[in-house]
Symmetry: D2
Subunit: 366 residues, 4 copies
Amino acid sequence: MAGSSLGIIYRITTWGESHGAGLGVVVDGCPAGLPLAENDIQSYLDRRKPGQNRISTPRKEADAVEILSGIFEGKTTGAPISMLIRNTSQRSGDYGEIAASYRPGHADYTFDRKYGFRDYRGGGRSSGRETIGRVAAGAIAAKVLREFGIELFAYTRSIGPVTIDPEHFERAAAAETPTCMPDRDASALAERFLSDCMRSYDSAGGVIECVIDGVPAGLGDPVFEKLDANLAKALMSIGAVKAVEIGDGIEVSTRHGSANNDAFRIQDGRIVKATNHAGGILGGISDGSQIVLRAHVKPTPSIFSPQDTVNRDGEEISISIKGRHDPVIVPRAVVVVESMAAITLLDALLVNAGAKMDSLKAIYKN
Amino acid sequence: MAGSSLGIIYRITTWGESHGAGLGVVVDGCPAGLPLAENDIQSYLDRRKPGQNRISTPRKEADAVEILSGIFEGKTTGAPISMLIRNTSQRSGDYGEIAASYRPGHADYTFDRKYGFRDYRGGGRSSGRETIGRVAAGAIAAKVLREFGIELFAYTRSIGPVTIDPEHFERAAAAETPTCMPDRDASALAERFLSDCMRSYDSAGGVIECVIDGVPAGLGDPVFEKLDANLAKALMSIGAVKAVEIGDGIEVSTRHGSANNDAFRIQDGRIVKATNHAGGILGGISDGSQIVLRAHVKPTPSIFSPQDTVNRDGEEISISIKGRHDPVIVPRAVVVVESMAAITLLDALLVNAGAKMDSLKAIYKN
Amino acid sequence: MAGSSLGIIYRITTWGESHGAGLGVVVDGCPAGLPLAENDIQSYLDRRKPGQNRISTPRKEADAVEILSGIFEGKTTGAPISMLIRNTSQRSGDYGEIAASYRPGHADYTFDRKYGFRDYRGGGRSSGRETIGRVAAGAIAAKVLREFGIELFAYTRSIGPVTIDPEHFERAAAAETPTCMPDRDASALAERFLSDCMRSYDSAGGVIECVIDGVPAGLGDPVFEKLDANLAKALMSIGAVKAVEIGDGIEVSTRHGSANNDAFRIQDGRIVKATNHAGGILGGISDGSQIVLRAHVKPTPSIFSPQDTVNRDGEEISISIKGRHDPVIVPRAVVVVESMAAITLLDALLVNAGAKMDSLKAIYKN
Amino acid sequence: MAGSSLGIIYRITTWGESHGAGLGVVVDGCPAGLPLAENDIQSYLDRRKPGQNRISTPRKEADAVEILSGIFEGKTTGAPISMLIRNTSQRSGDYGEIAASYRPGHADYTFDRKYGFRDYRGGGRSSGRETIGRVAAGAIAAKVLREFGIELFAYTRSIGPVTIDPEHFERAAAAETPTCMPDRDASALAERFLSDCMRSYDSAGGVIECVIDGVPAGLGDPVFEKLDANLAKALMSIGAVKAVEIGDGIEVSTRHGSANNDAFRIQDGRIVKATNHAGGILGGISDGSQIVLRAHVKPTPSIFSPQDTVNRDGEEISISIKGRHDPVIVPRAVVVVESMAAITLLDALLVNAGAKMDSLKAIYKN
């Protein structure tokens, strides 16, 4: 099925496997007239690159993007933007032994059941490298959104038991700590925790948070194309994500209505909310407040300690996964979460352009 | 925008407002040859009816479904199935006073910002009555799924601070308790808690869980049409839902890989998982285990105590909501969660029919 | 499959069978703020009503529309507009004998092969009555388009051998002649031709032309969502249409480039084309000239003379079709062609709203 | 807008401009398990290559395809198949002078109006080279269809005034004549006609016919996803096509029902049609007969004689187009028509897999 595309007007189609010729994305529906260069994309891709510090895989990947179409004289033309990232660092030999066995926590078994066989090299299509196309498309979406005053900021909220402290929140730190935590103390603690994980051949999970400022009220469509519904899909579609929250999320279930409702009030002549438990979305439509999202990420399934499993022939075996694997996915997935949020939000912004006669008349003046 | 449709092959389109002529749904893409009668739908709709006990609004709604098309001689024909539920119990007078003010926690403000004005009667399109179309479409999806041995079961897991006890789990109780809890003791506690809520003119939230048995391995498509991604969208699109979990959900972020991975093993000659932390989905594809979902529901935003807000003229005011409102949405939303899961799963099953040459050859034998 | 929906932003979903409870359409994505009443729809539906003169079936159908949702205080709200037309004049007895046999030129055989069985009453879902939903949705689309200065005009260009004479073209005549020809002389000839057809128990075909004025340049999207491609699909999806032309259509294949190219020139300070062989569309995008379409309609397959065919049991038989059938479909299909063109054009107009940064900035001013 | 994608299950997304880095297509939804190699694609691409004889442009284009993903061990995996064709023969200098003027019959003006500016080099996105992605995707579709006994055959039916003679029809000739005509005599005449065109700095149009054998009855979905409607869209989306016919097409409008209806009869124990005026499709669904399509192609708009037009500054000018252009598009478009038909038919075949309970039960046996 056409599962590799997302979006209605800003529509992206990703392709590629971990150990094939390369990976990429076609971005269709980007508005014409946006200044865009490879560097806009590369700076995002670099945020998900491995090998940048000791808590990520020592694998080196250049992941250099080539824009193949859709740009002319430095601006988007309205034509599809095709981007290609060649694979350069495959060591297929590392994966040979898992060709016939099913790694716990991975999609080996389900791909075999669905398709009859699979590209087993490095996880093939279900590898984390699949997110490269998402990030390239997200970089463009984020750039369009900035033209409308919309800014996204994603960061690591927790790794294993270590959660950032709102008192120590420092936005700049997220770009500087190896954990992408906006709290240098928490980051140091998390690094120590991860070192312990690695020593015990184990892995960890965590939580990624994304806040979006400057979103105009009115984005998202009632019933099935609600902004929160599409954000939930976008985040849950990222490999290891097992739960998604909007605003106060899971906390609302134990709260009273009187404590959870956000009162409206007037500030500087505009309608605002006194609190933001809702996370910026009411009835599936943005309300003009900050949008707040959280994705809960499972521990890396590739661990070096031996595990029980079965092989394709239906025999119970024990496997020890080799290769190069991050002890935690979270820091490298931060930019993926930000990208998926940007893609979803831009599509909602484009779709909303035709929501009322007044908007259309602003465009089609006779 | 076309936000009222969902699904690729099994595609539903809902319509209707709380206080208009009626509500309904068009179900397109239902396979031909399924025995179907109005009673199959009505039994689902009755599960979301209010007025059945003291913890739901005393409003009486007949909510009788009329099938207008798509059935001939007691079977689906492959043509779209249009279903109509007339509104009968509107008391518009109750809502007159909120026409010009924005209720906290509701979509009044965002609809006005998006569309320029709104049908304010009873919440209009953003009313909980909008879910009637979902449930009618879900009843059909669930019936198709049963033909393939797939059974869905949703229930209330918690209301406010009261959570069901796995030791007291009794499936039949969910259909008999007013809370839809499969634990009679917890239900009694929850009822007491809700009585307190009502006495203090307040409301409560809760958690709905849905388990699905008999799902064959292989449903869901990699990358953006993952089964868990679409389930997350389906559940998050339900009015008051603010978080969605798959399998162990939020717990995975604090767990080690060694504890979170589900080992494969052989049982009765088939590959199964020794545990099911993943909730039946690996890499976005069903793995043959039980699928487990949870939706976190916010407290009913309509509460009877006075609240601060603003009106359309930008004046700060205090409002007291009148009318008939449930102190908790959860029990009536249980069947909505089950319906959305059924709709999503059936679509995945239909889309998957063309995933490999072998499947196609089973259909198109020359 | 979800074959009953059309459009990306202005998305319509039709349902209903000839002899079921009724027919209808859900229109999703209509911009909010359009004044709309049942009479806007009814006046279009009345144009396709039978029984209005001797060249159409004497069957009387009230075909009164009920708007069930999406309108509040006389204006569209942005919510889906559901419309219902009850069937009132079914005489199922007429069709009993064709339950088991396959009428030549009809879809009886193909529905049976596709779905295993069919609703045989009056053609079921493949009846011409299926177009009622299209016309109701087209009436709304045409009303939106008029707000932007876009006017559609469809009419009968030929019936059998009788073609309108450009010299006698009179726009008003199309609404007054029983043939919908904008040429009173040709219409009289065509009526005589049709009387002969009826006397010999036979039927005729014809050509419907549609011209659209006031379309701004820029609608339609390159490659697969070209305006002409979508118009071709829209028209070819109408029951008896077997060919579609844009502009000079089939004539271009025998022409030289020097004769077929439309020169650009300046008129009143604006860029226009000196000729319009292209029919208002270049590269799939409207060029600001009049759009010109033609649909070639086959003769009514239901004829009263005996025909050879087979029955469900695989026996060769002869059938004589009874019931009430138009000797020519064309005049009643004129409004269907106009509706399909309107639906397609409005969708292109809405989709185009996000094509360039400038348009978006006209809507989302910070 | 996302205009670069087509299809529901077999979904293709093309990208690329005439003079950019390259062109390509992502094919999503191809069933897993199909043997596929670059040569399967290349043989199709070679059919649309220019420079092969004197009636096509002397431009040499290697147009060598590289498959970047979706294949493993010689078979499709179910993952998207990304294909890249690098541009190698651009001579941008040839096009510099048309940067600021609007060529008659081209999309220069409409692109400027839609997007504000355009990639003018060689027509950019609206160049005939855009069809490379279609042909690559069509080659795969045709290969899948052959596995089900479905064979497509497209050829030139006419060029200018020269039409093939059914008496001289020779299938092999279509692959051997420079015109792609399956009639060697007609081809010789057409070549002479084209030589005259070129001498007078002019161009010609023609008609492409495509017949499809072995299609099972039942493909296509009623109302809007009719097989003929989607074929019409697919063909009309090809650059220079201005009319599309199914079966007897335009001739049906002047015919009587008694002459146009195809009688059913029994042959070798199977239901067949005695004639095939309908072109293999009844009610939008394949009937098991040969499918017959025709596309009417306009003369190449690029001609070497001077033409009146305007420039971007709104001045009337005369231009003489330079560069390398085919005097007729038809022979090179034959494989494009065949490809678009294959893509459309395969998608219908995949979508139809879930049309009835019996088909589904053949796949999902418990």
